[in-house]
């Protein structure tokens, strides 16, 4: 590098020739800008240097194509296995048989009917669970004695399979919708409460200090600081709560059939078992799975993504 030594050699000679040594300490010790306008200009220059340029969001096709490809591969493997003829066709039906059965169920109106019944009950049960669990969770997270008293019980309830409540519910409420809702509540409420509590636990302590310094009352602190700060944890609690609602609902529908309970996807599954018709069983399982996937893709996925992006937590994730 023949050209480089020149500026290097120049630097010390400049100081030696007396270019005000005070210049070097100037920046840290005295006023450095010459006035308000100068300061504004300097700051705005620095701001634009230090902030990232806005990036545009565009449709990422791999997000759509990859899951579809994975699905196609799985169905092909299934079809391949069936065509090997290892098991009897009525025990392990192929994808085409199941699709044909779905067509039959559709034309009977059974498919739409049972799906609608289940979805409606799942969603209503879940929403009521949210309405109950949110204030209870906030209260438990904020009031130490309450949490110490009831925390273990709530955690225990979350571990207890909610299907264990089905016999009790049938004895108490008979074969009515109340039975189904009761089981859904017992599944969803504890997991939403727990999600909210763990979300609150993960709030940086600084946020509370800021809330205190800004003069927030206890209620304001809970609603304006704690709840929004805990939102990511709360949301995963809600997701889990929905999963528990849906599972509990299916369990209840499979076990409790008849009465005024109505005909849901679980009932369809149970009917398939009674008829020993594997295509109905498989169709029901796939429909139950499809509802789970759709709710995640259409409801929780977008909400979660938006939440994380707004907080700058999405960078570098594989979502």
């Amino acid at each position: 590098m023949p050209s480089n030594p020149t500026p290097l050699a120049e630097a010390p000679s400049e100081t030696a020739s007396g270019a005000a040594p005070a210049e070097h300490v100037h920046a840290a010790l005295t006023r450095t800008s010459t006035g308000h306008e100068d300061l504004r200009e300097l700051e705005s220059g620095l701001d634009s240097l230090q902030s990232d340029a806005d990036r545009k969001h565009r449709v990422d096709w791999s997000r759509i194509l990859l899951p579809v490809a994975a699905l196609v591969v799985l169905v092909l493997i299934w079809q391949f296995y069936v065509s090997l003829g290892v098991k009897r066709r009525d025990l392990v039906p192929g994808p085409l048989d199941v699709v044909a059965q779905m067509g039959v169920l559709w034309s009977d109106g059974k498919l739409q009917g049972s799906m609608w019944t289940s979805l409606q009950r799942g969603v209503v049960g879940f929403l009521i669970s949210v309405a109950i669990a949110t204030p209870v969770g906030l209260l438990l997270a904020q009031v130490a004695p309450l949490r110490r008293a009831f925390g273990p019980l709530i955690s225990g309830l979350q571990v207890l399979p909610s299907v264990a409540w089905v016999p009790a519910a049938i004895i108490w409420f008979g074969l009515t919708d109340a039975t189904v809702y009761f089981v859904v509540f017992m599944g969803a409420i504890p997991s939403i409460i727990n999600g909210l509590i763990s979300g609150v636990d993960q709030i940086p302590p600084q946020y509370r200090r800021v809330g205190t310094v800004l003069g927030a009352s206890r209620l304001q602190m809970a609603l304006q600081v704690i709840l929004p700060a805990a939102l990511p944890g709360y949301l995963s609690g809600l997701k889990q709560g929905w999963a528990f609602s849906w599972r509990s609902l299916m369990a209840a529908e499979i076990i409790a059939v008849g009465g005024t309970i109505g005909f849901g996807l679980g009932s369809l599954l149970d009917q398939g078992r009674d008829l020993s018709d594997m295509t109905i069983v498989m169709a029901a399982i796939l429909l139950i799975l499809a509802v789970g996937i759709l709710i995640e893709l259409l409801v929780f996925g977008p909400i979660e993504k938006r939440l994380l992006r707004r907080r700058g937590l999405l960078a570098g994730s594989t979502r």
Binding site: H26, L46, D47, V213, G215, R311
Partner: protein
């Protein structure tokens, strides 16, 4: 006197005292730099003045409406935009909705962030975040503003600019500022008065006045910095084993 500290002491549990016999008077509209090495209880003292902690002995007099507080990290709420962060401070103060909007914009203009109000904290640089944080603490509208090493985590270029900025805003708003720092040059650059706290226990051991000449004459400011640094080192050396 907005702030009077008399024989203030603080110990946590039965450990050694963190603060011992701290005495200070801070006048209305004054800019006081509280300087000390690590472990001198600077932040504890600030927390006591803010009412976040209680002293174990002594007496203190602070404004009845409390103090605004600015933290070392901006501590902005990530779910709110810059403007909403400021509006929240106004809201918790009881300012009406319509007024909040205009007031927040005014404060954003004051810290030269008039066009960045809709950005979220993670989209702002460290210096911009600290300015939003400053605007938020001004939104509290308290006469007394406590600052706990607010520029410690910033790069040197940004810090120098924010020193000018803070001085300008202090003059424009007439606040009383207590500024905690472990940076001697920062203390000399900003404070009208520099209080040196000793370490373990923390006590005000000496104070210096910084005049307007120090603001423009780098030689004079450098000299004072040297004197204060020497005294600070003396304090630190006492703890050598």
């Amino acid at each position: 006197m907005p702030v009077v500290l008399e024989h203030l002491g603080k110990r946590f549990g039965d450990g050694a005292p963190v603060l011992d016999d701290v005495n200070a008077n801070i006048k209305q509209g004054e800019f006081v730099a509280l300087l000390g090495a690590s472990g001198c209880g600077k932040s504890t003292l600030l927390n006591i003045i803010a009412g976040l902690e209680a002293p174990t002995s002594g007496a203190l007099e602070v404004p009845s409406d409390g103090a605004a507080f600015m933290f070392q990290d901006a501590a902005l709420f990530p779910w709110l935009t810059a403007r909403e962060n400021i509006e929240l401070a106004l809201k918790l103060r009881g300012v009406g909705k319509a007024e909040r909007r205009t007031k927040a914009q005014e404060l954003l203009e004051l810290v030269h962030l008039g066009s960045a109000g809709d950005k979220r904290p993670h989209e702002l640089s460290g210096g911009m975040r600290q300015r939003v944080s400053l605007a938020r603490s001004l939104a509290q509208d308290r006469q007394l503003l406590l600052m706990d090493e607010p520029f410690a985590a910033l790069d040197a270029i940004t810090r120098d600019l924010l020193h000018d900025e803070l001085e300008r805003i202090w003059k424009e708003t007439g606040r009383t500022i207590v500024f905690v720092t472990h940076n001697v040059r920062e203390a000399v650059r900003l404070g009208q008065r520099v209080l040196l706290l000793s370490s373990r226990p923390g006590r005000v051991v000496q104070e210096w006045a910084v005049t307007e000449e120090h603001r423009t004459d780098a030689g004079l400011a450098g000299q004072l910095t040297g004197v204060i640094t020497a005294r600070l080192r003396e304090e630190i050396r006492r703890h050598a084993k």
